[in-house]
Symmetry: D2
């Protein structure tokens, strides 16, 4: 039963969940298995080893938790912090807002650093807070690498530099939900303490796995962290890691095989090539937006996200009409504007296992929608701008040269 | 990549995860979708309505949470109780033990009522505690309907009768992980306050959904429950139910369509027929066990589980050898003995979408394994006993008459 | 194992095999079944009834043969004709050439009516031959409705008019491989005697079923047709139709369920809407070709095919380079020029379960390829022309209004 | 849509189509592809090379034809023989009968050597005919290696010895539909000229590929063979083999990938282990039949088939009732008696990707059915006999030791 069928493929350009490649769908097309047989630990072992590569860490400890990004957030916070702990958290859009809401409900003393939606994290404010915090009351910096609601990417290297500059011991907790495996992310180099993502984002899997990676320092912090946790307790995992059975409770067999296939595809393409492809698709999208005479919600180039572009539309148009029309007429799924930017932006997700021609089909669709809703776009203009760039910059598909 | 391939079908008789029927595998064989499109709320609405039927409730409120049974437990406890609350919990096997461990780590004052492993919950002790509790300090009774480790089913109707007898207002929280959709379970009639199951059990889906159903009284309790919760907070769901978008965070598209297909199959067969089938398969298994001269871990007939049978083997055999041999020689997956009964029992799961001939193949396999490990079984004896019963009691397949 | 993996979806725009919709892939994702059980005849009965609708016949008799289009051709000829029979056959491209080759090898006396590749069947020559044939030595007219190699559609209504004009009893045998279910085809109205298609074309299934429909007159002809046939003998099918078991030999269980799903999708969209969608996609393609300054291989508008467009490229470019580059750089599969037009045309297949944005992605890709190979295309020009037309002419998706 | 759903797995024990292993179902779960891209010839090349191994030939030339076994028969005959040619053909059951019917309809002069149904080919009669045929008027010996209707296997080594003894040049054409990949078959050693099978038999794929292998002598014979053939003409394939594109018409992409996966599984298990497993399952079946007090349709041990057992039932029972009841009550699919043995035998297919416990479930089911229909079977007796043998003879699963 397909509730609302339309002819041809659905063009899925929300910033998650994203398109699942056929080989991954295939890999998950299977019956359940006994997760206590020797096969599943053997498989899990390879996954835990390989998943570290997408975090660019050799020293971190990964946890594959049967949950969503929201659960992964909760796991990062409760395993490393105690109620009442002071933490710095940046409010720059809907997903950072939701994380802050969670932080507050979990009982932390959240020092919110707010920016306009469309700007990145205000690192100067962070710097001054760190400078003032000679007593080291700040226990953690919580930052969303890529704010999915506004298409804004924060500069984590700078965050690390500032922390180092003040020699501050705060933990660095990073939401990489819409960045890891798509943007340049370097857990070890940036000494990130907890990084996390969700399976349905750049890994191009179904929803169901919150993948979290913890530094040695983060693991150390679990010993004193007094936040109540059971389902999300990393130490339950560590106990089973030691036993070599890996799973404190039943994992999804299908997602494990799916993750294996997804990682295989990423490594076959090459993680750096995957990241470069995301850069290319994002640049093409931004060139189209520019050609349409529209603005990026991200206010400066340094914040432009390579996984999602939030496009500001003129005030006389309701952006939710754009999304509705995409669905109703073009079988195109675009992202809504959320909360503060509801009605004002629509979003093009260009992350995961997607290629240039898929994006160009989407951009052509957006042009027609814009015309439908009364925006005076020159049809073909965005596609032309994107093509001009892509035709110059696309590589051959390595396996086909 | 199949890590450890063997010819033919794997015979999956662990008590979860269980065999997924082909139509459900098919229904899940799909790409991701935008969960904010109109299609997913429309689908979700039918699921929330229909899932209540497997709890036999019309008044309960269901939550489909992207988690496992362990997470569903946590959701039941934290939404209805506050740290320090006194609760009665029955320790009768590994899964009730794990739940108690969770209860203690979540900060409740757990009044543990212990039985021998192989016995059901000691309801007399509960009765005397309730009788003594005129101040109503006991806030909840936590009980596992079916203890998967020992194959023991508790009598929930009696639990309710005792509560009513003492007119005690304690909440009744029931782990129905290995019972709901397989055993006779009546949420409304027994006035269960929270009931829960996991998708990978009798629903015959992959792991990934903790399905929880709350009574009006349980929902009322959320208003005063002070346990810290965010990911598991039912009120986040209720907020989205009101909006008609249903999901506070990204659900698994595949599992939603899978649940639709699973429910369709259950309703096509008829829930009562499904339960009768479980009764039939369990009886056949017990007759085989008897014919082999072995004992059921469940000490009395009143406790015999219709979803899993734990078989006690003579002390000169290590039950884990039986499980190993099933895997290595017969492509048969049996359940290990856990904790106190490790090495002493092996378990046959006979729940979910499985039929008589599948079970008979399993029983024949067990006979050969028993012989392999030195137990003097008469080959064919268990199968003969099971067949004699089944041949008399099996109905025609309704759709094929 | 995917032999030559590229990131993202493959853009499949060859004129067959075409994209299979997800619901059809799902329907075929199954184990084998006993084809002698009651289930398969019940399914087959619905298929035979419903498949007639795509031929627009109520009086024809369909045969679903486990073969390809080539086999379907052979079945049409050998069941209705005898060696030495004089038949008229039109040579207008590679597929009509292959059919003529088969006709000759099967021993018929083929009266070949040749046209330039890019022109339709010369019906004037046919008319004069029919006029001269007062003795009715011409036993059949064999015509390809849509020549896939050149993108030329023949006018079957005119063929019928001419036959009627001369009151000629010749059978009318039509290859509808790349037309049926995509172009306007009316078996009963045009009194076509044998029409045929292949599952991998507009039905959007895998290869494996040659679907043939025979008029009462064609069935009558089988009684005197002396061509040797066993595997392709319709009378073997008819014998089994009478018995209600339908299959003289083992059918593909998967394709039967796939055909059921494919027909369901077509009827849900509405056959006339499916045909209109093909018209729209074809028109958009031709507008793009025109915008690029290129010519359609089909020389006149009356012959333009709505399922495949063969595009003539300048002599200084080898069209096979275009196809190669599509594959190697853009994950785009285009059709080669065949035989006489090898190197001179490339082909865009726009048939089957495909939608507007998929086509626009393809057109954008073709523009970049044209630039790659040195043709001075203005990037975006074709997409713009196509969009201008589509934005005006696309309907809402009916199920989503 | 599953036309006639029953709970649990269908137990598929017809002698074809047989159970498809999960990895093969997965491999076929895919969209179409351009068969003219470089990927498909690369894949095909490995298939043609590897498929020879299941024929045990290094010198033969394989053809993978989109057809069924019936089509494969026709290809074997028409490519090597001319109308009027005298051939010897053995009538020993329904499938040899159907092949003879085809041979006659194709215009050969068939010298039918008939045996009782239940006996093997009468090789003495063949020997005397060959002895008498000093003029070499006999052009071919056509023999079914394994008659699926009666469960009789012919001795091909003896056939070859007799041909050699008389130094007779007749071609040896072998139907290996229910033998190749399951029974000991040695194309090169026995100098078989044409051998053939169908994908839905021991290869455990869906129906759709007739796989034919021709000796050099058979290929030579095509030059003089005057039988009319186009779709089945091997020379069309050979032309495309030379070009390296392999396919004269569109192959099924899904079956190609499926065949790759099927061969991989066979080679992983080891072809000789596969054959040994078939021997083991067949022996277990025969022991059960004996324990039930029933007779094998195959009259002598030398003819016992290791892929299908036809069981004779007492005259007071109609064997079709056994098959019906298997379907209606036990979700068990058994083979009907065909033609001369209709009502008198039912058949258990034990070929393809099936293991011991699956068979034991089937045997238990048969016992219950026998009791249902009034045959005085001792329940458990057949399973006991089978288990006693299997428990002694089954190897460990190599990958799990």
């Amino acid at each position: 039963m397909d509730y609302v069928y339309g002819p041809g493929r659905n063009h899925l350009f929300v910033p998650g969940p994203v398109n699942i490649p056929e080989p991954v769908i295939r890999a998950m097309n299977r019956n359940n298995e006994d997760y206590r047989s020797p096969a599943i630990p053997a498989l899990t072992k390879t996954l835990l080893e390989d998943v570290k590569k997408i975090f660019k860490t050799t020293t971190g400890t990964p946890f594959i938790i049967p949950t969503t990004g929201t659960g992964a957030w909760e796991s990062a916070l409760t395993n490393t912090l105690s109620p009442g702990d002071r933490i710095i958290s940046f409010l720059i859009g809907q997903f950072s807002l939701l994380w802050i809401d969670q932080q507050q409900r979990l009982g932390f003393n959240v020092d919110v650093v707010e920016s306009d939606w469309g700007q990145g994290a205000n690192l100067e404010v962070m710097a001054s807070k760190l400078e003032a915090d000679t007593a080291h009351t700040i226990k953690a910096i919580c930052i969303v690498h890529n704010e999915t609601a506004t298409g804004v990417t924060n500069n984590l290297a700078t965050v690390r530099r500032i922390l180092d500059h003040y020699n501050h011991p705060a933990l660095l907790l990073v939401d990489g939900v819409s960045s890891i495996c798509a943007l340049d992310f370097r857990m070890d180099e940036w000494r990130v303490d907890v990084a996390l993502t969700g399976s349905q984002k750049a890994l191009s899997l179904p929803t169901g796995m919150g993948i979290v990676c913890a530094s040695a320092k983060a693991l150390e912090a679990t010993k004193t962290a007094k936040s109540v946790r059971v389902f999300f307790d990393w130490n339950d995992y560590l106990k089973f890691y030691k036993m070599g059975t890996y799973w404190p409770y039943t994992p999804s067999i299908q997602l494990l095989y799916g993750l294996r296939a997804a990682l295989d595809l990423i490594f076959e393409e090459g993680l750096d090539n995957v990241i470069a492809r995301h850069g290319r698709l994002a640049k093409a999208t931004r060139l189209a937006v520019e050609a349409w005479g529209l603005k990026n919600c991200a206010q400066k180039e340094e914040w432009f996200s390579d996984t999602v572009t939030a496009v500001i539309i003129p005030p006389y148009i309701d952006s939710s009409e754009i999304v509705k029309r995409g669905w109703k007429r073009y079988n195109l799924s675009l992202g809504l504007g959320l909360n503060k930017v509801a009605g004002k932006v629509f979003r093009i997700g260009h992350l995961g296992n997607v290629n240039e021609l898929q994006l160009l089909g989407c951009l052509a669709g957006v042009e027609m929608i814009l015309k439908d809703v009364g925006y005076p776009v020159k049809l073909g203009s965005g596609v032309a701008a994107a093509c001009a760039f892509l035709q110059n910059s696309m590589p051959m598909i390595p396996s086909r040269i």
